[in-house]
């Protein structure tokens, strides 16, 4: 099959070259001209529970819902806000009022007109109650619609990250006429047959098999989308997913659809393009939370020793198979205000041992200086491998680690309630440190019982001050300065052990063009995506 495809491609190339009587340049040009038509088949795994992104923000929901719904903004690869449902926007001088001008002639898939009322309703009645957007809305005093094309957000205090929280995952706009009902949001019948404004309309969902979307002929963006539709195939098994991609049965795989171990090999196939772009907005980081409320984690030297004692390069190379890079500090290198100029922590067991010696942690008869527990991430195999490897690494510097496998409930409950020594964790950074980074380190965010708060109980007033100043600072230059300083302090203090900046890739059949155009990658509307003919 593979060789056949390759041959066909070759033959076609030859034909094209002959007919155009020319060099490669016009050929390339011809290939770059978007074509209409074709159905994109993509992997959907795991099958999402719902298609309403306001109810659930798991990857699968976002992937499908991103085509049906739209948010006010989207973001370029370098995380600049780009128009979405909002055509343009203004910020008042006191940075308390944000005015959005909406795209004209937008209508819902059921033919009803879209208006600013829908936006106001969605933000005040729906999103204000979701875990993801509630924090943002605490900064907002009022949302109003002076006219059908305008939405105004009034903030309580300046919040520099405001424009970075309006993505599809946190800000999909729902139709008021279908959701302003008594039925609780989670039970609304339209959740699984959604009506949105996006370039593709929901057609059918065969659970366990596929989700079928078709072209929205009345999409507000003239001449878009190119595709006739998108079919998402549910393929629960990773090996089957790989085979399907290899054979061209599906044309698109993202995130963890393909096992990390297989990604390099698949990426090398002549039919496949690999891109690492399109994950900038989330920029997930993986780290090991340390319980600063316990000995010996309260001692900075111990935390630094652990950092020196873990071979993070090995983890990203051999366990994550390149789907990550060694983290340098609290901010992912793709997130805004990242600063690489911080203290490095190379793998250096000798230094680690020296630090432990300095602390007075002497090895006992079995060479053990300290015994600690480690709760791995409760998702899948890779986190387990990482935990096993860390256990082995730390044993070499005399820190005996006991792995404590637990489930999601146990993990959130134990880490949230500070009942742990070391606990693996991974969070999205959502483009801006004020949204996705500071929550982990703010002394004011030490909240027992709350997962994804400052569970390592790191409390440094200077850090709080810097983060708070950065969140309200007027210019990016100002913010960069503050964030650079906070990064230097945190890296010195090592409140958590940053392991890796994840670096996922999207694997696309070479027939697929323009699939990834924004920092949201394939989650975005894909109205620009087109397929070349077979």
């Amino acid at each position: 099959m593979k060789s056949l495809d390759a041959r066909r491609v070759l033959a076609r190339c030859a034909l094209a070259a002959a007919s155009l009587l020319a060099s490669a340049a016009p050929l390339a040009h011809a290939e770059e001209t978007p074509q209409y038509g074709g159905v994109l088949t993509a992997i959907l795994s795991p099958e999402p529970p719902t298609l309403n992104v306001a109810v659930q923000q798991v990857a699968g929901t976002q992937l499908v819902a991103g085509k049906i719904f739209e948010s006010l903004l989207t973001y370029s690869f370098d995380l600049k806000p780009q128009p979405g449902l909002a055509r343009s926007w203004e910020i008042s001088d006191d940075r308390l009022t944000y005015t959005f001008h909406l795209q004209p002639k937008v209508q819902w898939h059921d033919g009803k007109p879209f208006s600013a009322d829908d936006v106001v309703f969605t933000y005040t009645k729906i999103l204000a109650n979701t875990p993801r957007t509630r924090t943002l809305m605490t900064n907002v005093r009022e949302v109003s619609a002076p006219d059908a094309q305008t939405v105004v957000f009034k903030l309580k205090q300046p919040y520099s990250a405001f424009l970075y929280a309006l993505d599809i995952g946190g800000g999909a706009i729902l139709p008021k006429h279908l959701y302003d009902v008594d039925t609780p949001l989670a039970q609304n019948p339209h959740n699984n047959a959604p009506i949105g404004t996006g370039p593709f309309k929901f057609k059918h969902w065969e659970r366990g098999s596929y989700v079928e979307l078709v072209k929205n002929e009345h999409y507000w963006k003239e001449g878009r989308p190119y595709l006739d539709g998108i079919t998402y195939r549910v393929i629960p098994d990773s090996a089957s997913r790989r085979v399907a991609l290899e054979q061209g049965t599906v044309l698109q795989a993202w995130l963890q659809d393909i096992e990390p171990v297989d990604v390099p090999r698949v990426a090398k196939l002549p039919t496949i393009n690999q891109t690492h772009k399109g994950y900038e907005y989330w920029s997930t980081m993986q780290w090991i939370e340390l319980n600063g409320g316990r000995q010996p984690f309260s001692d900075k030297r111990f935390r630094q020793a652990l950092m020196y004692g873990i071979n993070r390069q090995f983890i990203v190379d051999k366990i994550m198979f390149g789907s990550g890079t060694v983290a340098t500090g609290p901010i992912h290198h793709n997130t805004r205000f990242y600063d690489a100029d911080v203290k490095p922590y190379p793998y250096d067991p000798k230094k680690a041992v020296a630090l432990l010696d300095e602390m007075g942690l002497k090895p006992d008869a079995k060479g053990v200086r300290a015994s600690v527990g480690l709760i791995p991430l409760p998702y899948g195999e890779m986190p387990r491998r990482i935990a096993e490897y860390i256990k082995q690494n730390l044993a070499k510097i005399g820190v005996a680690v006991t792995l404590e496998n637990t489930d999601v409930g146990g993990w959130t409950s134990r880490v949230g309630n500070w009942d742990f020594d070391m606990g693996a964790n991974g969070v999205f950074q959502y483009g801006d440190p004020a949204i996705g980074v500071s929550r982990t380190y703010l002394g004011s965010n030490i909240k027992k019982g709350l997962m994804f708060s400052n569970t390592s109980q790191y409390d440094n007033p200077k850090v709080d001050e810097l983060f708070n100043a950065a969140a309200t600072a007027a210019t990016d230059e100002e913010r960069q300065k503050l964030y650079s300083e906070v990064q230097r302090i945190l890296v010195e203090d090592v409140p958590v052990l940053w392991l890796a900046d994840t670096n996922y890739s999207t694997l696309l059949n070479k027939r697929v063009h323009n699939a990834v155009t924004t920092a949201l990658g394939v989650v975005d509307t894909q109205s620009e995506t087109w397929l070349s003919k077979e």
Partner: protein
């Protein structure tokens, strides 16, 4: 006939009791898990904060006394409401029903294979007791009996899928092939072959050993001598007198083993990515989606109870003495 009806009624009552016990067991098991059920549910829904947990507690009646909760739970189970999966955003019962046909196809095929192959091999071995044919069959079944199910699956995949590339290694049907009619049946059958073989292998060994032992035992009994004394041909003696009696314990064992078969499907469906309830349970396990895991567990028990009932009915047909037992 009345006695049989009474016997069966008795069995039905017993089955219901067993199901009740399993439901109780489920109820208390989830409460034995570390952390509060609400926290677990919250963890599953991906959102954890105190307010949300409190809301969940209320929503699920977890703030009510345990007896009220139990009553509600049993009422739900009785109407086949096995709870709600927050991870999958779907009622557990509908998830199970969606995955059940694949499991039934797999286990029934495996069972049919195991029974047919096992009984014929066992019979052949018993008829050749002590000869090399017996030795080969006994040795093979001994091996199959000692091999971990999941490993057999992996080895078959290595051999038939990776090396020989004869059969698909994973899944239920070819992805996106959109086959219909006979072509689809053939496609599913090709996918079914390895998993069914894997699952059936162990039980084939069990049935072969059981049949062999049972035949040898029955052959020693007086009535077989009587049958021979009648001048019946050896074939008639074996088929009509020995085999029919020898299969009775096999029926019993098949009933007992229904649970094993279902349990084995968890492993086999995991290895072969077979979209049945075993796979559902495994995914739930990986994600610690307890409501699904316990739902599948209950369903599996229900299947076993039903199978046991069927075996009982079969038994009353196969063995007239059952009235007295």
């Amino acid at each position: 006939m009345k006695k049989i009806a009474k016997f069966l009624a008795n069995r039905v009552v017993k089955s219901v009791l067993v199901l009740l016990m399993i439901a109780l067991f489920n109820f208390f098991l989830v409460r034995a898990a570390p952390g509060d059920p609400a926290e677990i549910l919250a963890g599953q829904s991906g959102a954890v904060d105190a307010e949300f947990i409190a809301k969940l507690r209320q929503e699920f009646g977890l703030d009510k006394p345990i007896s009220t909760q139990l009553g509600q739970y049993l009422k739900n189970v009785a109407t086949f409401d096995l709870g709600y999966s927050y991870r999958q955003q779907a009622p557990v019962a509908s998830l199970i029903l969606q995955h059940l046909p694949a499991t039934l196809l797999l286990t029934l095929s495996a069972f049919a294979f195991a029974l047919l192959a096992g009984v014929s091999l066992g019979t052949q071995a018993a008829l050749r007791v002590g000869k090399w044919g017996d030795t080969v069959i006994t040795t093979l079944s001994m091996l199959a009996y000692a091999t971990p199910l999941f490993w057999v699956g992996l080895m078959l995949v290595l051999l038939f899928s990776v090396n020989l590339e004869w059969l698909p290694a994973f899944g239920y049907e070819s992805v996106g092939a959109n086959l219909t009619g006979l072509a689809r049946v053939a496609d599913v059958a090709r996918h079914l072959l390895l998993p069914a073989l894997t699952l059936g292998m162990f039980y084939m060994a069990v049935y072969a050993r059981l049949t062999r032992a049972s035949i040898l035992e029955i052959s020693q009994l007086d009535f077989v001598k009587t049958a021979r004394a009648k001048g019946l041909s050896e074939r008639t003696v074996i088929v009509r007198h020995v085999l029919r009696n020898a299969l009775l314990p096999v029926i019993t064992y098949a009933g007992i083993q229904a649970g094993g078969l279902i349990g084995g499907s968890l492993l086999v469906e995991t290895v072969f990515a077979w979209p049945g309830i075993g796979r559902l349970a495994f995914d739930a396990l990986i994600q610690r989606d307890y409501s699904v895991l316990l739902g599948v567990f209950f369903m599996a028990s229900l299947i076993v109870v039903v199978v046991n009932l069927i075996t009982d009915i079969l038994y009353t047909v196969a063995d007239p003495r059952i009235e007295l037992k």
